[in-house]
């Protein structure tokens, strides 16, 4: 873990008023990213991982929502920023890579226009010609051979893999400190996803940007991240170095999640997790995994986020690693 976190999220709560009642979507989420660190936030759909990312990008707002807690980027409070303040931060100090490159790029502008705009947003002094030159260079840098032709193309004329590459280039062109990547490449084929992750790794290393990877895919976590947060029903249940988490997962949910992944070694069918994700408007009191947990007992209660070994933290009253 790096000494100075560059992005911190502290005790984040998100409540949304709905027809069914108030949904407590995020229940005290805390996490941090060190400079240049690759961290994964992993969990199943509806666990709140994307909401966390959207809040960190200032993209979550609505009349029926209330957000509490603190999000700071290099000491600056992000939750207090207005839309104008955000414009100085977003795309410059913190940027985002979305899941579906087809939807994230604007279909009515050429790739060149969009890249040039992004470059000039980061550095308003750049002329269009300079920005265009930088864009072409950036594309060649990500191994796009026919960069000029790609710049003149519209996103729909290009393959999904190429668009993903362009999105990543765009996210990193202003050398941000933090990149939030929401399921990058998961809308694409596995071979393209593999290349996407490799490229992200190389580019963020080069720029020195930290990455918060939002994903449901444990395999992707293992190849990409240095450290992992496991999220379940709006809470972080486990945090560990990646290798450690896969070697010796401690939280029963993490263990169950790993057992549910089909293995390439062909050990037979994976194990399902019994029960269902709890209802956010009426969640179980205390540990939210308790109703589905094979180790649940009366003593469970509301466990703290304990640290049974350095750097490995788990929200469970029992230690199941042994």
């Amino acid at each position: 873990m790096n000494a100075d976190p560059i992005l911190t999220v502290e005790d984040l709560h998100l409540r949304i008023r709905q027809f069914e009642g108030e949904a407590h979507i995020l229940n005290g989420v805390s996490l941090h990213l060190g400079a240049g660190e690759r961290v994964a936030l992993v969990g199943e759909s509806g666990c709140g991982k994307s909401s966390t990312a959207l809040i960190a990008m200032g993209l979550m707002n609505g009349g029926n929502m209330s957000i509490d807690g603190r999000v700071t980027l290099e000491g600056t409070d992000l939750l207090g920023l207005g839309e104008r303040g955000w414009r100085n931060v977003r795309g410059r100090q913190i940027s985002m890579v979305f899941q579906d490159p087809g939807a994230a790029l604007n279909p009515v502008f050429t790739v060149g226009d969009q890249l040039v705009t992004a470059i000039r947003r980061g550095d308003p002094g750049t002329s269009r010609a300079e920005a265009h030159e930088r864009a072409a260079e950036a594309l060649r840098h990500v191994h796009i051979v026919d960069a000029e032709r790609v710049l003149a193309s519209y996103p729909f004329q290009l393959s999904g893999g190429l668009n993903q590459r362009i999105l990543i280039t765009m996210a990193l062109v202003n050398r941000p400190r933090v990149v939030v990547a929401d399921e990058p490449g998961s809308a694409l084929d596995v071979t393209v996803q593999e290349q996407t992750l490799r490229l992200m790794k190389a580019l963020t290393d080069e720029v020195g940007a930290a990455v918060l990877l939002i994903t449901h895919n444990l395999g992707v976590v293992r190849t990409f991240a240095q450290r992992v947060y496991v999220m379940y029903s709006g809470t972080i249940v486990e945090e560990a170095e990646t290798a450690r988490l896969f070697e010796a997962p401690r939280h029963p949910y993490t263990q169950a999640l790993l057992a549910a992944v089909p293995r390439l070694t062909g050990e037979g069918l994976p194990q399902p997790i019994p029960g269902q994700v709890p209802d956010y408007t009426d969640p179980p009191v205390g540990c939210r995994f308790q109703p589905r947990c094979p180790h649940a007992r009366a003593a469970c209660g509301n466990p703290p986020f304990a640290e049974p070994e350095p750097g490995h933290r788990v929200r469970c009253v029992l230690d199941f690693s042994g």
């Binding site: 199943e44 990500v142 051979v145 026919d146 999904g160 071979t191 490799r198 169950a256 549910a260």
Partner: protein, 335 residues
């Protein structure tokens, strides 16, 4: 489970259920003709699970649509128990091949409740009375593990996993022989996926079902299929018994696919073939004409690869590939 050794050299009790002969499906895009299927031949035996894997544009969904009879091939034949069903099929033939689709959000009509959804196939394929149909709906729901009390509910009140169960019940309703499973779990969370996969295997045993499992997820395939067919741009590039195809990938494309699977453990990592990822891409891949379809992406191409589309050749009785410079020959050279 039946091994593919028997399937390629079939014993009498395990006959070919569906035979696909040189199936071709061309689409016209502007002034160009694109072959979604460029001459695919395949046998599917009763009671087996045959996985068709490939990426987008491989033609795997088109192949499923041909078998389901909702699209017609440009040329080639489809035989069911020896009977040709390429162009027309009667109601009973339609009954015998059903489908489970990918998206739990669009596979069920949001405006129809579960009873209406499940009664439709029952009404078409049997002469049950209204009351009997209702009983059958309840029975089907129980079979797939959904409470019969949900009968009057609408899909939006169900979870993704429950919806896929209902879709499975709909496929079972006409008592089919074959179910085409078109990415049935790829939109689900792994914990839910695991339950659906278990259910599929149980139902297969119980009702002697034959599955054509269309997917891009090789980890799932490894654990559920008897035989795997790898498609690339409308061509079968490799085909074989599951264990063999995974432990000894021969075609370069198959090796690339396997090497790009994100896995969660060291033993799995060790199984993945190595692949030299060359990062460069061009905006549009040039068309290759009569050559190996994988040529533009293949770092192992040799001169021979440009001379016509390579035919499928048998490496073993249960393993075929269409590569002019297969991986085994190279690793053999190295050793």
């Amino acid at each position: 489970m039946t091994s593919v050794a028997e399937s390629l050299v079939p014993p009498a009790e395990d006959p070919v259920l569906i035979r696909i002969e040189d199936l071709r499906r061309d689409f016209t895009v502007g002034s160009r003709t694109v072959s979604a299927l460029a001459g695919v031949s395949l046998d599917i035996r009763r009671g087996q699970t045959v996985a068709v894997v490939g990426e987008s544009g491989s033609g795997k969904t088109t192949l499923g649509n041909q078998i389901l009879g909702i699209d017609r091939p440009t040329s080639g034949r489809i035989l069911f128990e020896g009977r040709e069903i390429t162009a027309t099929r009667d109601t009973d033939m339609r009954r015998r091949i059903q489908v489970v689709q990918q998206s739990p959000y669009t596979t069920l009509n949001p405006k129809r409740n579960l009873r209406q959804i499940l009664e439709l196939p029952i009404a078409i394929h049997s002469d049950r009375s209204r009351r009997q149909r209702r009983d059958r709906v309840a029975e089907l729901l129980e079979i797939v593990g959904v409470s019969a009390d949900f009968m009057e509910r609408y899909p939006y009140t169900l979870s993704g996993g429950q919806r896929q169960r209902v879709a499975l019940a709909r496929a079972l309703a006409p008592e089919p022989d074959v179910i085409v499973l078109d990415e049935p779990t790829s939109s689900l969370d792994v914990s839910v996926q695991a339950r659906i996969l278990q259910l599929l295997v149980e139902l297969q045993a119980q009702y002697q079902l034959t599955y054509l499992f269309i997917t891009h997820d090789l980890s799932v395939v490894r654990n559920i299929a008897d035989e795997v067919v790898v498609l690339y741009r409308g061509y079968v590039v490799e085909r074989g018994a599951t264990a063999e195809l995974f432990s000894n990938p021969l075609h370069r494309y198959n090796a690339m696919l396997l090497s790009s699977i994100p896995v969660v453990s060291e033993p799995e990592e060790a199984l993945k073939p190595s692949w030299e990822w060359d990062g460069s891409v061009v905006g549009v891949e040039p068309s290759v004409g009569a050559a190996c379809p994988f040529l533009p992406r293949c770092p192992h191409a040799v001169a021979l690869c440009e001379q016509g589309v390579p035919p499928l050749v048998a490496e073993t009785p249960t393993h075929q590939h269409a590569c002019r410079n297969p991986r085994s020959s190279e690793s053999a050279h190295r050793e």
